[in-house]
């Protein structure tokens, strides 16, 4: 299995970083926690570590080069025999990347697309193309047309698989800007929401599409006629759920327009941002102004935690569920948060979480949006005051205040709260602020 190394965000304002040095060479063994490379931003150097044991298979951006935050800069594989295939896949890309770099001295870059187009024809490269959807259009263009584009536009185009020769530049002398690439990306979708019914705002991870589209049979842990003992995790979940029966809970719901959120997600997705991270960030942001909703019941009274820790429910394949915690999301930028989340999910599936990584939540999120559900409510985990159930974002006919009718993507959320500490008005005010944040200012969630 291969794992990507991303350009980390060293600060909330950083958009790109310089690779100072690779401390490992392709083929070298790396251990979890070992430094693999050094990234510089301003006067600060940061050692970037490997998240797992394995081998550095490929260096996609050489020392001295600059890459946008979230860009894949290297690949780590788990076993030695995977190195060769990954290197073969990436050989063409890394050499192609080196070449334009030389002429990147001034701001305007002239690139010839033909080189890449030729390399796509090798079978391995095709495999890669399918997987990452890179350079799909480039392969169809065999003309050696010269394109003038900003370095960033060029990079984004190559990430999204957009043929720059077919993009109209709006910059000086027809220079292609980032906006032009984005526009070009959106073009084929003439009726914006039709093709996207399933790809709701509530996509939890990359694999979710699979579970939506395939006709996989539902979960079952035993055969017909059998009674299967609960595993340890299932027993623990049962105990937690039963304890909620002694808690006087109420529910309050809200419909949130996600049009802006969806387009924000589209722009940050390429930097590795996950929808879960965005939702967690939004919730943490709203909780900051609603400490009551972050509080919980205790024998001594209302207990206010020092931190806002958002737990997110993750179903386990062999039964039960676990709630990995993103600690204090307000202190972490969206890119880092997404990475933390991916790491938590991976490790929770491998059952490698430390207790403090799944038991310290002060507020919980449960997201079933990827199954297309339009609403559900969640059971309150013990020791916390509230849990938010998030459903799919679906195109919905919306009547405006002035009598107008429009179609917007709407997502229903449903808060379950312990009435001993959180009252209806507290929950409602929290949801109102959360909705306002998601509907009107999703871009503020980056930092």
């Amino acid at each position: 299995m291969s794992h990507e190394i991303f350009m980390p965000a060293l600060s909330s304002t950083m958009t790109e970083g310089k690779i100072v040095e690779w401390l490992k060479n392709p083929g070298d063994k790396v251990e979890r926690g070992e430094s693999v490379l050094v990234v510089e931003s301003d006067k600060a150097d940061m050692d970037v570590e490997s998240f797992q044991d394995g081998y550095l298979a490929a260096v996609l951006m050489p020392a001295g080069s600059t890459a946008p935050v979230g860009e894949t800069i290297g690949i780590i594989v788990e076993s030695e025999n995977e190195i060769e295939s990954v290197q073969a896949q990436n050989n063409n890309i890394s050499t192609a990347k080196d070449k334009p770099k030389k002429i990147e001295v001034n701001d305007e870059v002239e690139i010839q697309i033909t080189k890449k187009a030729v390399s796509v024809s090798s079978p391995i490269e095709k495999e890669k193309t399918k997987e990452k959807k890179i350079e799909v259009n480039a392969s169809t263009s065999n003309s050696s047309s010269r394109v003038v584009a900003s370095p960033k536009a060029k990079k984004i185009a190559s990430q999204m698989g957009i043929d720059l020769s077919k993009v109209n530049g709006s910059g000086p002398h027809g220079r292609i800007q980032v906006d032009d690439v984005m526009k070009a990306k959106g073009q084929p979708v003439s009726v914006p929401w039709v093709g996207e019914g399933n790809t709701s705002a509530s996509i939890i991870n990359v694999n979710s599409n699979k579970s939506v589209q395939s006709n996989n049979p539902g979960n079952s842990f035993g055969n017909p006629g059998e009674t299967i003992q609960f595993n340890t995790l299932q027993k623990a979940v049962n105990k937690n759920m039963e304890s909620s029966l002694s808690v006087p809970c109420f529910r309050v719901g809200y419909s949130i327009d996600t049009d802006k959120l969806d387009s924000f997600y589209k722009t940050v997705k390429q930097n590795g941002v996950t929808m879960t991270a965005i939702l967690v960030k939004a919730v943490a942001n709203a909780l900051k102004n609603h400490p009551q909703v972050n509080s919980s019941y205790s024998e001594d009274g209302i207990s206010y935690p020092e931190e806002i820790n958002v737990a997110v429910a993750v179903a386990m394949e062999d039964g039960g569920l676990i709630t990995p915690v993103l600690k204090d999301p307000n202190k972490t930028d969206l890119f880092e948060l997404s990475r933390e989340w991916k790491d938590l999910v991976k490790r929770s599936r491998a059952k490698q979480l430390e207790p403090e990584e799944y038991s310290t939540g002060t507020f919980t999120l449960s997201n079933l949006g990827m199954f297309g559900v339009d609403r559900f409510d969640a059971i309150l985990p013990p020791g916390t005051g509230a849990i938010l159930a998030i459903a799919a974002s679906k195109p919905t006919v919306v009547a405006g205040e002035n009598g107008s009718i429009s179609i917007k993507k709407v997502m229903q959320v449903n808060l379950t709260a312990d009435h001993r500490v959180i009252y209806g008005a507290d929950g409602a005010a929290f949801l109102k602020d959360l909705a306002n944040l998601i509907e009107n200012h999703p871009e503020t969630l980056v930092t």
Partner: protein
């Protein structure tokens, strides 16, 4: 619970750079491995030496530089700089998980600390956008260079007090051409390094909100 405590070392004698580097690395390792929750602050002076970052341009070491000079390539950002007696060096091994996981924030906070220190001596100083460090007009009075691993910092900053600035002529300080250095004693010749040390200690303590503890 946040563990905002720090060990303070403030030796009176001048120490060699490499010796202190080892101490810093040890405390960084302690924090990383969870052996200790104590952060570490070192305030002192070095014998003459030059340090460059891993990504530094070697061209900034000028031909006039003594072939036998001590030059260290270290894990910090930024270009070449120079340490010598009369220059106060401050190292901060801090766990940014306790503060903000943001190196830009950290660099700006260090600049703010230096500006506050200088203000205690009635010296006006400022930031210069794009040129990390602290400046008195067009002259540079303090330099910053840090490294970071798992959000635990290493290295820090230096302020020129009554040092011999001629040594800076053997290098292109911070890689900035025609960069002129200055020192506190150019503004007030009566200030001694010991006076600055105590103020540095207090301002750091206040800014990073920790208590100094014994080892």
């Amino acid at each position: 619970m946040l563990h905002r405590t720090s060990i303070l070392q403030q030796p009176n004698k001048i120490l060699y750079f490499e010796k202190v580097l080892k101490v810093q690395e040890t405390y960084q390792q302690y924090l990383m491995r969870g052996i200790s929750k104590n952060q570490f602050v070192w305030i002192g002076e070095h014998n003459l030496c030059y340090t460059i970052g891993r990504g530094s341009d070697k061209k900034n070491l000028l031909p006039s530089l003594d072939k036998n000079a001590d030059i260290f390539t270290i894990n910090r950002g930024g270009e070449v700089t120079c340490h010598m007696p009369g220059q106060l060096v401050v190292y901060l091994v801090l766990d940014l998980n306790n503060y903000k996981k943001d190196l830009n924030w950290y660099l700006r906070t260090i600049e703010e600390i230096i500006i506050k220190i200088l203000r205690q001596f009635d010296i006006d100083s400022s930031r210069k956008k794009g040129f990390t460090g602290v400046w008195c007009g067009n002259k540079k009075i303090a330099s910053i260079g840090i490294g970071c691993k798992r959000w635990i910092t290493i290295h820090g900053f230096s302020i020129n007090i009554n040092c011999n600035l001629n040594h800076f002529e053997n290098i292109v300080p911070c890689g900035i051409k025609d960069c002129v250095m200055t020192k506190i004693c150019d503004f007030n010749p009566h200030i001694r390094i010991i006076d600055v040390k105590d103020i540095v200690k207090n301002i750091i303590k206040e800014e990073f909100n920790f208590n100094f503890v014994s080892e």
